[in-house]
């Protein structure tokens, strides 16, 4: 007869080195671990609560400008470097890790309307109210040298915006018309115009780099093709679009920040219907910038807040505000997709975390696993009322809060009126227009 007995083979439980993880034998029989759903639900609830507890997005405020910050630019090669232009014509270069200003340039007289960096990161361009386009070296002048631009182009009209090509030595300015310049020449190699109103912003497509988008004060967004030197299409909206931003991962998608408190994401091949209307702001949206992953974008608004929208959602997932932050004029998402910068009226540039409750710094593998698990749980149970309520809860300044209420009432009234009109008129005589189409006035070929 064979006698069974307890056998303890050290190979089964002794680690090779003390750095190895302890082997924990585990029986995954579901009957031994009951109540999966309730337990996970509680975990999800806790994770959601903790997320709100740890949501401290504000990192730093960079002060030094002596007027409102009008424009921001990222350094293409260096994550820590940021450029900003103010309303008094001053351009400052900041170091984000040290959180200080490393260089100050009095670039223009009057506003610095636009600023952009060259794709290689060696120089940057500014346009100002003094009808000039200036190119500056990224590095400061040596000792005893004077602060001077590399090149200065004197134009005939005021330039309101500038953007640099993503690969070549070409940049585009806008004002009365969209001009495309070679860096080496003092005359534009091509100017494109469609309509007579002033153009407020121009942006190169980062993927298909020959494409440009611009928005003008006559409420339209115009797309240009640089290679064929012709405008492509124009879409007229209800109200003026302040700026647009292209999706860096999807070549044909761009988002427009509009005066009517909304943002519109368009597929440029079908301009008659926006892909998504993003609404949450309670005042004009002044700037928009995409996350480099192309999944989200951040918008700056006149209502003293910035919001983060997922590309495919019409409501924002996050709103940032502080007591001291005034009208936010410009916003940028850093190239590592972790931080957001915004420049506002009250002369400060603020640095935020893109994920409010994210832990900064290096995570251990267990921390990472816990983070991923919590994220998954939150996602899984996001529709449950208690969890949804906690996850959605944000504190808002009174002004924004009351405006939201007010606008809700207004919207409801408008909707009711429309419903009534449809109800009391001949069937079919009053067309039902979807929310997406409502704001598009026309598409001009």
């Amino acid at each position: 007869m064979k006698v069974k007995m307890l056998s303890r083979n050290p190979d089964n439980y002794v680690r090779e080195t003390k750095l190895d993880l302890q082997r924990v034998p585990r029986n995954y029989d579901p009957t031994l671990h009951p109540f999966e759903v309730p337990r996970e639900y509680v975990r999800a609830l806790n994770a959601t609560k903790l997320e709100r507890v740890f949501a401290k997005p504000f990192l730093a405020s960079l002060d030094g400008h002596r007027d409102g910050v009008n424009c921001l630019a990222k350094h293409p090669k260096n994550l820590a470097t940021v450029l900003s232009g103010a309303c008094d014509g001053e351009v400052r270069i900041w170091n984000l890790t040290q959180r200080n200003c490393i260089r100050t340039v009095q670039a223009h007289e009057g506003f610095v309307r636009g600023i952009c960096t060259r794709f290689c990161g060696t120089s940057f361009f500014t346009v100002g109210d003094d009808k000039t386009v200036k190119q500056w070296k990224m590095d400061g002048p040596g000792y005893g040298e004077e602060e001077e631009p590399l090149h200065t182009i004197l134009g005939k009209t005021v330039y309101t915006g500038i953007d640099h090509h993503w690969k070549e030595a070409v940049f585009a300015t806008c004002g009365q018309q969209v001009d495309i310049w070679d860096e080496q020449r003092t005359n534009p190699i091509c100017s494109m115009t469609w309509g007579f109103d002033s153009i407020s912003s121009v942006k190169f497509n980062p993927v298909e780099t020959f494409l440009l988008g611009s928005c003008a004060s006559d409420r339209n967004i115009v797309l240009y093709d640089m290679r064929q030197a012709t405008p492509l299409k124009k879409v007229i909206l209800d109200m003026r679009t302040n700026t647009i931003c292209w999706n860096p991962m999807e070549a044909f998608i761009f988002t427009a920040a509009n005066e009517d408190y909304n943002l519109y994401t368009f597929d440029m091949r079908a301009l008659d219907t926006p892909v998504m209307v993003h609404m949450d702001h309670v005042s004009a949206v002044l700037d928009v910038d995409y996350c480099p992953t192309g999944k989200e974008f951040v918008s700056a608004s006149f209502d003293k807040s910035i919001r983060i929208f997922p590309v495919d959602k019409s409501r924002s997932r996050e709103v940032y505000h502080t007591k001291r932050m005034q009208h936010v004029i410009c916003v940028k998402w850093t190239s590592d997709s972790k931080y957001i910068m915004c420049g506002s009226d009250e002369m400060n540039i603020r640095l935020w975390k893109a994920n409010a409750s994210e832990k900064l710094g290096v995570l251990t593998s267990r921390e990472k696993a816990a983070k991923d698990y919590n994220q998954k749980l939150k996602e899984k149970f996001q529709h449950y009322p208690h969890i949804k309520r906690i996850a959605r809860h944000r504190h808002l300044p009174k002004s924004i809060y009351s405006q939201i209420q007010e606008q809700r009432i207004m919207k409801e009234a408008r909707r009711r009126k429309e419903v009534n009109r449809i109800k009391h008129s001949k069937p079919g005589s009053v067309p039902i227009v979807s929310e997406k189409k409502k704001h598009i006035v026309a598409v001009v070929k």
Binding site: Y41, L223, D225, Q228, A229, M249, D336, A369
Partner: protein
């Protein structure tokens, strides 16, 4: 010259003609504005023109009264005629004169040439340009569609997208630019070089290289595999041998040895056939062994053990047998391997030898065992038997009788056996029962049970039968009552069993009472003291069972809400109405009721409803939930169950709130929806799901590592977007996703002047304008 002039004028004319075709061209229609007033003048002009066509007056210029846009030196105009000038008309006079052949040719050429279309206006052209360009751009952009879709559906996106090649220089490069400078470094380098340790790739010493060359990988592998196999086999054999060695059973070893011997002999036989010389050698070996055996005193019963056994052999059968076995072995071993006849001869000798060696007592028995004298053997066994019987005749009477019975008659052994067995059983059961009611039977009776009186036995048997019957009947009753909705109390047991059941009357009664109370709803507060009273009653008169049903009926009549439905509500009689009419009305009512009853004779709606309600109530009652966790706080595993204490502790059915339709007999209010739970439940099916079951399934699959293996857990919790901290994420590039990016730079195309339209572009334009 003249001719040329004429041609020129005609060309101009033809142009004019075309211009006339265009309705929009305003400057031409200027002349027509003059109206009919100067019709005469026109006529005059025409006449003059005609007259001037021939001969000398050719050069006379037409008189111009006002400035005309088209001034023709030929004075030809279509003014006033209202007709267009056709080239053929003009050519007619030319036909006659041969001197104008060149002109004619030129004119013909003009005729054959197609007319250039008028360019479109600027806006239109620009629009067409834009449309074409947009079409092109959209086509270029739509190549991104699959990539965008893929990225949207991807399980995980890791940014930055492009694989960054880590710039690791090979070690040679690093070393080539580096020289040993300090003395320590030099020393180390010297050492390294002395050992011929390579500093560059591949990092192998000459020795290692040589060894590598010596044996190829394949060979080495094969070699190693063989070695492994051999080692494994060896270990198996060792293990087997060890196991066999450990076996203590002598019999086993004996068997093994015998087997071996048999095998050896067989082999020998075979060898004899195949190879006689070798067989002879083998035989010699056997012979040697035999000789050794014969020389030695082994198995000769001369050892210490054998002597002791010899002493014991007189009395102990086993010892005797053992000695004999020993001798038999000796015999076997000393046997010569020879022909059968020889063996027989030998036998006698050995026997003699044995006789010499073995003591007398042993010899006797040995003869018995060997079997030459069967009589002796028989005698011996019978002796033993007799002795046994003498020793304990009282102890084993039954086996003896059994044997007797068997010997007596083999015809009906089974039946008799059965009878006997039954007898035994009965006796045993009797014993048990008597033990149960010890007070009834004194202990003395048990002792004298063997000679038990038939009377007691029969009595007890009867009793047991009755008990059984009663039990069965009660069971039947219970089952029948289960089907009947209104649970009736048990009918009183027959008179005979009453004394038997005396032992547990009070407890049962009270329990039943409690049950009843539970059934009869708790709002009967007055009834509460009742059970105590009844208990007292029952104590006083334990035989009052027949009264119980009555009581119950009374209670029912008092309170039963369920009956409210079925029983007639007592009609309230008003005094004002005369009695006769009243009777009439009552009659009518009764009639109607009768009719309804007849109409719905088949389906008992009320009863069904009541049943339904009862079922609903039962279903909504909170069920016991077994929350026992096996293995917590104690050992768990197959065949082990959690302790009863724990089971009791964890079995719990929380008392739910009272039903809303408790006091509404003819209403069922469903209480399936739990308000407290609803606060935690999803009300609307979330967007991507199409069916609630789909959603439930996703919720029910756990994600955590408590329920999943580490690998599965990692897979389940992979984040959708992964970014590296501190890495710049660049916009997606065509090269990243395997597309051919346009080789031409965006800049190179710009230089091309958009104002000049190439033929290709023109074609496209036309197509577009047509379409």
């Amino acid at each position: 010259m003249n001719v040329n002039r004429v041609a020129e004028s005609l060309l101009a004319l033809s142009q004019q003609e075309e211009l006339v075709d265009l309705p929009k061209n305003c400057p031409l229609s200027e002349n027509e504005d003059e109206g009919d007033s100067d019709g005469e003048r026109k006529h005059q002009k025409l006449l003059e023109a005609i007259s001037s066509l021939d001969g000398k007056n050719r050069w006379k210029l037409a008189e111009r009264s006002e400035a005309s846009l088209k001034v023709s030196e030929f004075n030809v105009s279509s003014e006033g005629s209202g007709e267009k000038l056709v080239l053929a008309d003009l050519l007619e006079p030319v036909k006659t004169s041969s001197s104008l052949a060149t002109v004619k040719r030129q004119l013909n050429r003009v005729k054959s040439k197609k007319v250039v279309e008028l360019p479109l206006n600027k806006e239109k052209i620009e629009q067409i340009h834009r449309e074409v360009a947009f079409g092109k751009t959209s086509r270029v952009l739509s190549k991104w569609d699959p990539i965008v879709l893929k990225n949207q559906q991807a399980e995980q996106l890791a940014f930055p997208l492009g694989k960054e090649q880590p710039a690791i220089a090979p070690i040679e490069h690093a070393l080539s630019g580096w020289k040993a400078r300090t003395p320590l470094e030099q020393e180390i380098f010297n050492l390294l070089h002395k050992n011929k340790r390579p500093v560059t790739d591949p990092l192998l010493t000459p020795m290692e290289k040589a060894s590598l060359r010596a044996m190829s990988l394949e060979e080495a592998k094969m070699h190693r595999a063989e070695l492994q196999r051999a080692r494994a086999l060896q270990s198996y054999y060792e293990a087997k041998a060890r196991r066999e060695k450990k076996i203590k059973s002598k019999k086993y070893h004996k068997v093994v040895k015998k087997g071996k011997a048999r095998k050896a002999s067989k082999e020998l036989e075979q060898l004899q056939k195949v190879n006689p010389t070798v067989a002879l050698e083998e035989l010699e070996k056997f012979e040697n062994a035999r000789m050794m055996e014969r020389m030695s005193l082994k198995h000769q019963n001369s050892g210490k053990w054998a002597k002791s056994k010899a002493i014991m052999a007189k009395y102990d059968l086993e010892a005797r047998q053992a000695m004999q076995e020993q001798l038999a072995k000796n015999k076997e071993l000393t046997q010569k391997l020879q022909v059968a006849s020889e063996i027989e001869e030998e036998k006698g000798c050995t026997e003699e030898v044995e006789e010499l060696l073995v003591p007398h007592v042993v010899n006797e028995v040995q003869m018995n065992v060997d079997g030459p004298n069967p009589w002796m053997l028989r005698n011996c066994t019978s002796d033993i038997r007799e002795a046994a019987t003498q020793e304990d005749p009282e102890q084993l009477p039954e086996p003896a009788t059994h044997e007797v019975s068997e010997s007596e008659g083999e015809e009906r052994p089974v039946a008799e056996e059965e009878i006997l067995l039954r007898d035994f059983e009965e006796r045993r059961s009797l014993r048990k029962r008597s033990e149960l009611n010890q007070d009834a039977e004194p202990a003395g009776i048990q002792e004298r049970k063997d000679s038990s009186s038939q009377e007691v036995l029969s009595e007890l048997r009867a009793l047991s039968q009755k008990l059984k019957e009663n039990h069965q009947s009660r069971k039947q009753k219970a089952s029948s009552e289960g089907t009947v909705p209104q649970v009736q109390r048990e009918e009183p047991a027959p008179e005979e069993e009453a004394p038997l059941l005396l032992q547990r009357p009070e407890r049962v009664q009270t329990l039943e009472e409690l049950e009843e109370l539970g059934k009869e709803d708790c709002f009967q507060n007055k009834e509460l003291p009742r059970p105590v009273l009844e208990g007292q009653q029952s104590e006083r008169t334990p035989n009052n069972r027949p009264d119980a049903p009555k009581e119950k009926k009374e209670k029912e009549q008092l309170i039963d809400l369920q009956n409210l439905l079925t029983t007639q509500s007592p009609s309230v009689r008003s005094l004002a109405v005369p009695t006769t009419i009243e009777e009439l009305e009552e009659d009518e009512e009764r009639d109607q009721r009768q009719m309804i009853k007849e109409a719905f004779a088949g389906d008992d709606v009320i009863r069904n409803f009541l049943k339904e309600k009862r079922e609903a109530v039962e279903a909504s009652k909170p069920k016991d939930v077994d929350l026992t966790l096996p293995g917590w706080g104690e050992w768990g595993g197959v065949g082990l169950k959690p302790s009863t204490k724990k089971r009791r502790q964890f079995l719990k059915a929380p008392e739910g709130p009272p039903r809303k339709d408790k006091n509404l007999p003819n209403v069922i209010i469903s209480e399936k929806r739990n308000i407290h739970a609803a606060a935690h439940q999803v009300q609307v099916l979330p967007y991507p799901f199409t069916h609630h079951r789909q959603f439930e399934r996703t919720i029910q699959t756990p994600v955590g590592s408590t329920w999943n293996t580490q690998r599965a857990f990692q897979k389940l919790t992979t984040p959708k977007v992964v970014t590296k901290p501190g890495h710049i994420i660049k916009p997606i590039k065509a090269e990243d996703v395997g597309h051919q990016s346009s080789s031409r730079s965006d800049l190179s195309v710009i230089q091309w002047n958009p104002k000049r339209i190439t033929t290709r572009h023109n074609k496209e334009l036309k197509k577009n304008s047509v379409g």
